[in-house]
């Protein structure tokens, strides 16, 4: 009988065919969603309206990853939510099967392979890389050594005009008190090599726009990461007369979406020089503020945009003196909610509410510019639904947006992009495969055979 390790089990998962190797599961339980390349068998399981990602991997690795993802969740890091581990699986023939790690599918998420297509703008790619760099820096700040940074191990969600990145795979991850520079740079090096491989793969599959150069893209990652890390943790020295630089540093970090929980400030004995260094920074400056004011739980840049609109609302309604939480409540009732409720239910799966609000604001701005008048929000939302939302693909589960891009080639297995396209040749004979090693190699035993060691030592 399979055993379920789960904090909050979903009973609908129990009757699934756990005795079948994941690669052979009947399609009725599966859904083909776009995803990255994986060295393990990965499938998406649908039960009711819930979708889970299932990864078949040996038990120790599955349990390790489950615990890592649980820790990342506890620390408030953007990562997929672990659901459980299914162990003790045995096939109908009585053969033991590897365990399965289950994670909840991240709604409205977009794997990188569905975001790339011929003609994807360079700015879009830059924004994806920026999101990845922010995720990597956030993980490093909490002492998480990823060990396998790659686009395949990340999911993206729209975040106003930017993207927010989520960790999907923590199999090689380790949580430390703090990371050494060597560990961080090693992770960065892995990121660069893996992303270079992924971009080269997209290029080979004719999915990468010709204007994009894999080497230039990974150099951008390195530069952005180093700049961000320096801003987040670097020591800054200035003259005692430049005290405003403390405030500037905090503002710059806020602007990047980070709060400063602890700032080390040292003054030289004469008071001539001051040095500051952020000691504890937390991501989510704007999203925390928006959550506190309105109860809305959004991505960072969406929160920034909504907070800006809240400020605009204050000016527009001439309520400069009103307390912020009171104003936020008014804004929620009079601006945000009317827009969200104006979305026809059949179109609600296209975007998250905060993303829709952001896009409606954009739509209104362009329309106001075009028509040289202040377009009311109610009018803008109807125009947005008509012109934009109704033609967008559904992103709650984004498989409709996915096709093997670039050209009309069919995946060998729609459930697994790691297996390439159907039109490829069969594999040649492998002289090693029948023996699992080079012909003539002495097989090392799986037990301590001292007599064999003595024979070898004697030549």
């Amino acid at each position: 009988m399979p055993r379920f390790l789960a904090a909050q089990p979903d009973a609908r998962l129990l009757p699934l065919p756990w005795h079948t190797p994941l690669a052979e599961w009947p399609h009725e339980h599966l859904v083909a969603l776009p995803r990255g390349i994986s060295r393990h068998v990965v499938r998406f399981i649908q039960v009711g309206d819930e979708v889970y990602a299932a990864k078949e991997v040996i038990e120790t690795a599955a349990v390790h990853e489950y615990r890592m993802l649980t820790d990342l969740h506890r620390l408030g890091t953007p990562a997929v939510e672990p659901t459980g581990v299914v162990t003790n699986r045995v096939s109908s023939e009585g053969e033991p099967l590897d365990s399965i790690l289950l994670t909840r599918h991240l709604q409205f998420s977009l794997p990188y392979r569905s975001l790339f297509s011929s003609g994807v703008r360079r700015e879009t790619v830059s924004r994806l890389l920026d999101a990845m760099v922010v995720l990597l820096a956030r993980l490093h700040l909490i002492g998480f050594l990823w060990g396998d940074v790659s686009l395949s191990n990340i999911l993206f969600r729209r975040d106003a005009g930017e993207f927010a990145a989520y960790l999907v795979d923590a199999e090689t991850g380790e949580l430390h008190d703090r990371l050494s520079d060597g560990q961080r740079l090693h992770d960065l090096e892995i990121a660069m090599v893996n992303l270079f491989g992924e971009f080269s793969d997209l290029e080979a599959g004719r999915m990468l726009d010709e204007s994009l150069d894999p080497l230039g893209l990974v150099q951008q990652i390195e530069a952005r990461y180093r700049d961000l890390w320096c801003e987040l943790t670097g020591l800054e020295r200035f003259a005692g007369s430049e005290l405003y630089r403390i405030e500037s540093r905090v503002r710059r970090l806020n602007e990047l979406g980070f709060d400063v929980a602890e700032l080390d400030i040292h003054t030289s004995p004469t008071g001539d020089t001051i040095s500051i260094q952020p000691k504890v920074v937390d991501a989510g400056h704007h999203s925390r503020r928006l959550l506190r004011l309105t109860g809305l739980d959004t991505e960072e840049n969406q929160a920034r945009r909504l907070l800006n609109d809240l400020d605009t609302y204050r000016a527009r309604t001439n309520q400069g003196h009103v307390e912020e939480s009171v104003l936020a409540h008014q804004w929620l009732t009079n601006a945000f909610e009317p827009v969200v409720t104006a979305i026809p239910p059949e179109l609600a799966g296209k975007r998250e509410p905060a993303q829709i609000f952001h896009e409606v604001l954009d739509y209104r701005w362009y329309q106001s510019q075009r028509e040289n008048r202040e377009v009311p929000l109610t009018e803008a939302v109807h125009g947005y639904v008509r012109d934009v939302l109704s033609v967008l693909p559904d992103e709650v589960i984004s498989h409709e947006s996915f096709s093997p891009l670039g050209e009309q080639r069919q995946l060998a297995n729609p459930l697994d992009p790691s297996q390439g396209f159907v039109d490829e040749d069969e594999m040649p004979e492998d002289p090693w495969e029948s023996e699992a090693f080079a012909p003539g190699t002495e097989v090392l035993p799986d037990f301590l055979d001292i007599e064999a060691l003595r024979r070898r030592a004697q030549g």
């Binding site: 090689t172 090096e189 892995i190 893996n194 793969d201 090693f437 080079a438 090392l444």
Partner: protein
């Protein structure tokens, strides 16, 4: 290729009361396959990571060849961590899957192709080079991953428990492949494992660690035949060496009603200790012909082909004492009709016994 030297290399984690690695001195020869082994928390992975540049070296130094790399960032050390990445890219050929990182380092195309071809020949992947990796088996994927490290032509390969996430079948075949390849390539390799069988079957030499301290570094046979202390004696070998404490008497060590003979010059090294521990490997026992020997109360007899394994405890213990007593294991070649609950007398083979000080744990024989 190069030598690797740890010179009093020490790592202390902030807030820890003792070093994770304490003054490690280890010289690894050019082209040598060195395995670091020990129980969890012994410092083996930390040592490897110090060499890789992932862990700070708080005191001492690490050299690769004649370069002091102690403070160099990981990518400037000319090392390759094998198996850290083996995702295969479906639209790239096997050749590109092996050589893409060289392109990133701006290695000229002709040089890249040459290195990839050489690695593919070594790995039996030559006929796959122009193919896509669509249908590669688990073993073939492992080989491509090894190829990625080989084409970089690093001075040192580092492997940190590379087989731990593989299933049993793939683990045995990959172990064989790694050892065979390392021998053919002759690249200095540092390999970390918690599995003594892996260490003993793969390494040219094995460094046994415990609590951050190097216990012994030697060839697998030397570790087996002359363990330097009680820890190594107990850690290396499966089933483990029998370690039996006894009191020093004239002519030997008294165990139960039997005096295990120990040469006077060895007893002299005991420095007046009243008790010593003798170590006897399971295969170095034989049943006594003359009623002499250590009396063992047999618990289980396991017949395995020509050998039988006998499991028991020292005779004369109460039922409660037996529960906490060390198990004695003997591999006996001749088939004796041994049965459970019988008392048998076992003698150590001449010259095959190990004697350890109880005070220091060190070998004195």
């Amino acid at each position: 290729m190069a030598t690797v030297s740890f010179k009093d290399a020490t790592r202390v984690y902030p807030g820890a009361d003792h070093p994770a690695v304490d003054k490690l001195n280890l010289e690894i020869g050019d082209g040598e396959f060195m395995v670091l082994v020990g129980p969890s928390g012994c410092g083996k992975s930390t040592s490897l990571r110090m060499l890789a540049g992932l862990e700070e070296v708080n005191a001492g130094a690490i050299h690769i060849g004649d370069r002091n790399v102690t403070d160099l960032p990981p990518k400037d050390r000319d090392i390759a961590m094998v198996f850290q990445n083996y995702a295969l890219y479906p639209h790239m050929t096997v050749a590109d899957n092996m050589g893409f990182a060289l392109k990133m380092q701006n290695v000229p195309k002709a040089d890249r192709e040459k290195r990839v071809l050489e690695a593919a020949k070594l790995l039996g992947l030559e006929s796959f080079l122009s193919r896509k990796p669509k249908a590669l088996s688990g073993g073939q994927r492992q080989r491509v991953a090894m190829g990625r490290a080989i084409v970089r032509q690093p001075q040192v390969f580092l492997m940190d428990e590379p087989l731990s996430n593989l299933d049993a079948k793939l683990r045995v075949s990959t172990r064989t492949q790694i050892a065979a390849l390392q021998q053919r390539l002759g690249v200095t390799t540092v390999y970390v494992t918690h599995d003594q069988v892996e260490a003993m079957t793969m390494g040219d030499r094995v460094a046994v660690m415990k609590d951050g301290l190097l216990q012994q570094v030697a060839s697998p046979l030397e570790l087996y035949d002359t363990p330097r202390n009680l820890f190594v004696a107990g850690f290396i070998g499966s089933p483990a060496m029998n370690l039996i404490a006894g009191s020093v008497v004239d002519g030997g060590v008294q165990v139960g009603d039997y005096v295990v003979p120990v040469a006077r010059d060895i007893l002299a090294k005991a420095n007046g200790e009243a008790d010593l521990t003798i170590g006897i490997r399971p295969e170095h026992f034989h049943t006594s012909e003359d009623g002499q020997g250590i009396a063992i109360d047999i618990a289980v007899v396991e017949e395995l082909g020509a050998d039988s394994y006998l499991y028991g405890t020292l005779a004369g213990l109460s039922a409660d004492e037996k529960l906490n007593a060390n198990q004695i294991v003997a591999r006996l070649q001749s088939r004796h009709p041994l049965t459970k609950r019988e008392i048998v007398r076992l003698e150590p083979d001449a010259g095959r016994m190990h004697v350890f000080s109880n005070k220091t744990g060190d070998r004195i024989s």
